[in-house]
Symmetry: C2
Subunit: 230 residues, 2 copies
């Protein structure tokens, strides 16, 4: 009610039947997403989320239980959407191409749902992708969370690329994917590093610049590693 009425930040899913004073739940998730993506799990306090979302800490525990469960809810909320859409785009691509599957085409189908939302999905999606980038690099538990969340889609991509490169060994495909995963998640993290490195010439939020380059780079890399020619 009186709280959160100024909340105009990214919402996910349907536009809310009563959009003015929407869910406290969604407001909490949005704020938590933003904080976790910048400071990591341990760098955020429940109080901080509560204050920013203009609710009480007790309400966060009422909705989510523990801080850990809040984090998991944040991480899963958009993962399900992205995973479903990635499966669709890859299925549609394969169905449309038949035997003409290419590495570039497979990568485009895999990346499109992410890059489209990175460009046009609003701050909520951008925060989410930065969070995925951070989790992906977290030694202690990040790899395990990534595995649990995204592996089915990754295997679908690898199968698709294997159709374009039938001679490729499994090892080479997995290593190549690992390199792609690093490139992508660093790009998603939007640390501003490339901005500073290039002294303002490049911008980490420039998806138009990113998309054709990451596809070209990764496709050539896959071919070189898996088939010995790019």
């Amino acid at each position: 009610m009186k709280a959160r009425q100024a909340m105009t930040t990214a919402k996910v899913g349907r536009p809310a039947k009563d959009s003015r004073e929407k869910d406290a739940r969604a407001a909490i998730l949005d704020v938590a997403e933003e904080r976790f993506s910048r400071h990591g799990f341990h760098g955020v306090t429940v109080r901080e989320v509560a204050t920013t979302a203009q609710v009480n800490t007790a309400l966060i525990h009422y909705y989510f239980g523990s801080k850990k469960e809040l984090f998991d809810a944040v991480f899963m909320r958009r993962a399900e959407i992205i995973n479903a859409e990635r499966m669709e785009t890859m299925n549609a691509y394969e169905a449309g191409e038949g035997d003409g599957v290419t590495v570039e085409g497979a990568l485009e189908a895999f990346l499109r749902p992410v890059l489209t939302r990175l460009a046009d999905g609003g701050p909520g999606w951008r925060n989410y992708f930065a969070l995925v980038g951070l989790v992906n690099a977290t030694t202690a538990w990040g790899g395990e969370v990534m595995t649990r969340t995204f592996d089915p889609v990754i295997h679908r991509l690898i199968d698709l690329i294997a159709r374009a490169l039938p001679e490729a060994s499994k090892e080479d495909l997995y290593w190549s994917y690992n390199f792609l995963s690093g490139s992508l998640t660093l790009s998603l993290a939007e640390t501003g590093r490339i901005d500073r490195l290039s002294d303002g010439l490049c911008h980490s939020d420039d998806v138009e610049a990113l998309k054709p380059r990451i596809i070209a780079y990764a496709a050539a890399g896959f071919r070189q590693v898996c088939v010995g020619k790019a």
Copy 2:
């Protein structure tokens, strides 16, 4: 004295004239490095470091001032060593090749100091590289720390690659480096993700498998993005 006598963890630099009861300072740095690399800055407490290093929390503040300064000391300790050596290997490579500089050769000179230590440098170096990977993906302050610490060496690499690809634009070189940076730091993070993804076929600590593949992948990527042919 009575503390830390069982400390056999990674030391850096010379083997210590009195190796039995070496520095408390070094012991603190080693432990902090290991913890920070796994859990990030906020996921580690000064107490935890003190207990594991078998010293008192007051001693950590005596040596380093604040927790933040301890972190900075950890991050800089090995950065200086790596930066100096990378400059040497790249200078030596360029001097030896004259006009025959290749992308693969430049990348090899850039990566060798890191990959050699990742393979043979012991747990201290492995922890350190995992920490760099984590910092690299940290939205809030990671990009800034990476810039401050590693930019001169990165510019040296980009200049070297530009000699091999004279037609390349600055934008394409920076974007390509960004992809390489992501691939490398994810590999350094050793999250075990590729182990699980490949169901045990690949191992994230297998530097023998990593090195030729990351060079081949990145070189082909640079060529495709910067020159339009791989």
